[in-house]
Symmetry: C2
Subunit: 478 residues, 2 copies
């Protein structure tokens, strides 16, 4: 029977073709499937379960910082989208338009939200009157639509899933603090749940969000050295407030404009997990968001007592972990490959000889290490191992990041690094758009951010040689 | 300061104008706000928190019965929607059409899902090959869009939130069992979480879902005697499987069509909560889904020890309940009205004299009863009271339902009952569409369901006098 099973097919090696490796992994680990709509993906149970775990944990961090969830409509009337000039210019070219409802043509076109600033602003203008109504700290978990020409699962799709926080504050200072607070929440979330280190910084004028005064970002480095913009947080000042007339009476009964922020993290984060931790055997999932944290594989399951003990272990571990017992009739070797492909952090093998010795064998997905565990105190041992795996993944990713950040103080060095060394380049910048554009055109690298932790690599701009004002991190990006 | 507060405005009395009462309640308890898009509502934090609690508990029931969550695209290509004839006829007149992406006209129009049978079928045709792939027990939590002419918050809106389960099985019998299983899950959920009794039954041919072989429903009775179809479960046979070519190899290597189901529960359930439990003071929320289960209101909070003790109580109760301490400077009377409007199941008052006597006063929202509770063992007392409130709400709703189900064995009685007695009418039916249509046209009542618990009210059809085949429950409906 087991011989008839669909075998786990090999995937393309990472170093041979990283793009193909990525596609192989997302399909063969059954995270997604393609749909009949161009650029839209189907999140399959295993992929959606990762997103559910991301949602659950990040949502708790939002609630712990005082945020509330709401649900806005998916439609934005064209006139509403057009209220903030920079915003509409940024988004109008890539929205989907609804023109007909049933058999009737609509009097006004509706776009499907590419992001919901305009909807939140419209609502805020209705519900904010007094300083007592502030701050408003709202968030929503939804999908949004951007009509992309080239799409890739998780990284860039026409419809994608995210959360978008939208807040309104009495003062500019409070709004700036919120913007930075939420960027830090994202960085902490990446470190503590996804085991991914990020570089925190500010976007340049060119790269900032349409309608924002300032955009902040967390940038992660993928296995191939490319950058992934992993979440962003925007400070809007009172620009949207003026466009949408969001005013409140302050304590002196004076009308004031609110100051706003927005911030978002999307299913791109799953792309980051794949490309930071994955290897040639497939996914490697950080334990805190893995749909299956531990899989139990009985060996010689027909032998007396093995299956019974495995079931007992499962019941015990399930009190604290997301655990699966695979007692199907497939061969153990097949199961090993299957759960390696799916990135299950810890595999526990239990055979007749283990049973005799009151032990089992745990195998770590991150480094292949085999550890003999006593069946006494197994829950504690598994917890310790999962924490060690998380920490191991983080440290490995941190070393990978740090070892591939290079300094360039002149154009020649910079162009060689960009061309030959996958990774980030630290270089000084004069602040002129012209230099940023030239680096993009000539070298194919974009400014990832002006990092919060500034390092003075040189005194002059790497491009034009004029006095530098900021260190910028440059790289090729997804 | 407190005098300047916005006062809780009175709402229209239920018996004076039920429709206006409903609108007043949803707006003044801050469940929703209207948006700039016709027929689309904004779920505000308090309204969305109810939906989150519904989701959390119902989702657990789905997972306990083996279902997995996925996420399908929001778009359906026109050609895909047209694959199943009855289905497209039912839904095409009320869908929103996307015709442009960015500045380009699409080669094929996309509708925004009014329901997702076609998307799941398309996916199932890709991923189901063998009997080993069955059953597929999928669900998703999303919003859907139906272009409605007349809308009301929660009851009928252009965009609404729901879950839709879609399953595929090897045999008809398994699919039928699933259809009934999920109907029972809905009935249990209404009883155990929303404290709402429902009538379970089958829809007539006329009222069934577009594309279904059989549709089952749970029907609840609102305060005004009208019926609310509260969730439905559909058996599709192999109709969709044939239209979408969803076949599997059975154990004998023969190709077979799958048999399918779908089932859904929406934000209408919040409408049911409002119209079953609410009263002239506002919402009355069942404790298990209430965003705030208990509110603590300190009395004479400036007196020594009151606020400290209130905070201590809050910290203790928060370990087990969703609890809020309102220590704002508003007057206690204002707070009482506010949390009555918001339907908080239990209010706890704590003043200086209570403190002296190591007690507090609990006030039940459902019946206004005041209970003096010792501060010792408060968590247990609150748990007991919340369970009693749940049970009290359920029993009151059950009595309200049972006392307003009337029997009619002839046309005259039926027409008088429908005209004069708000509620359900049990009457026999010959099974002919003509009689069902005549009852709708002449009396304004629709067939709610053929209840599972059949009562033989008479021998002949209440309309035509021919031999009856089934008892039907008739009523006016939302």
């Amino acid at each position: 029977m087991a011989g008839k099973e669909k075998r786990v097919e090999a995937i393309t090696a990472m170093d041979q073709d990283f793009t193909q490796w990525y596609t192989d992994v997302v399909l063969k680990s059954e995270l997604i499937d393609y749909s009949s709509v161009k650029g839209c993906m189907i999140l399959r149970p295993y992929g959606f379960a990762i997103w559910e775990n991301i949602q659950k944990n990040l949502d708790q961090m939002f609630k712990d910082t005082g945020h509330e969830n709401v649900a806005m409509p998916m439609f934005i009337p064209e006139s509403l989208l057009q209220k903030e000039k920079d915003h509409v210019e940024g988004f109008a070219p890539e929205v989907a338009w609804v023109t007909h409802g049933g058999s009737e043509k609509l009097a006004e076109r509706l776009c499907i939200r590419p992001t919901s600033e305009t909807l939140f602003c419209d609502h805020y203008s209705q519900i904010i009157q007094s300083w007592r109504d502030l701050p408003k700290l709202y968030n929503q978990w939804v999908s949004v639509v951007r009509w992309e020409k080239t799409t890739r699962p998780f990284l860039r799709s026409t419809e994608f899933y995210w959360q978008e926080g939208h807040t309104a504050h009495a003062t500019a200072q409070e709004a700036v603090e919120e913007t930075i607070r939420m960027l830090n929440v994202y960085a902490d979330f990446y470190r503590d749940y996804l085991a991914i280190p990020v570089v925190k910084g500010q976007k340049t004028e060119k790269e900032k969000f349409a309608g924002a005064v300032d955009t902040y970002t967390v940038e992660a480095m993928m296995h191939d050295g490319k950058a992934l913009q992993s979440a962003t947080s925007h400070y809007f000042g009172d620009g949207f407030a003026k466009a949408f007339e969001i005013q409140y009476s302050d304590k002196n009964n004076q009308l004031q404009y609110v100051h706003q922020t927005s911030w978002g993290l999307s299913t791109r984060s799953i792309g980051a997990i794949i490309m930071v931790h994955g290897d040639d055997s497939g996914l490697v999932l950080p334990p805190r968001i893995a749909p299956i944290q531990t899989v139990i594989v009985p060996i010689a399951a027909h032998k007396a007592g093995v299956l019974e003990k495995a079931k007992e272990m499962k019941a015990e571990l399930a009190k604290q972990f997301r655990v699966k017992l695979d007692d199907s009739d497939k061969m153990p070797g097949w199961k090993f490959s299957e759960y390696e492909m799916k990135g299950v952090p810890l595999r526990i093998e239990l055979g007749p000889r283990d049973l005799e010795q009151n032990q089992c064998v745990a195998v770590r997905r991150d480094n292949g290490e085999k550890i003999v565990l006593s069946l006494d105190g197994l829950t504690e041992s598994v917890q310790t191992l999962l924490d060690e795996i998380h920490e191991g993944l983080y440290q490995r990713a941190l070393e990978s990041l740090n070892s591939r950040i290079y300094d360039a103080s002149d154009w020649q060095t910079m162009s060689e690094l960009i061309a030959e060394k996958p990774g980030f380049v630290r270089a000084m910048w004069c602040g002129d758009l012209a230099c940023e554009l030239m680096i993009k055109e000539e070298l194919g690298a974009t400014s990832r951010c002006l990092p919060f932790d500034q390092v003075k690599v040189a005194d002059t701009c790497v491009c034009c040689g004029k006095p530098a004002v900021k260190e910028v991190i440059w790289g090729k990006a997804y």
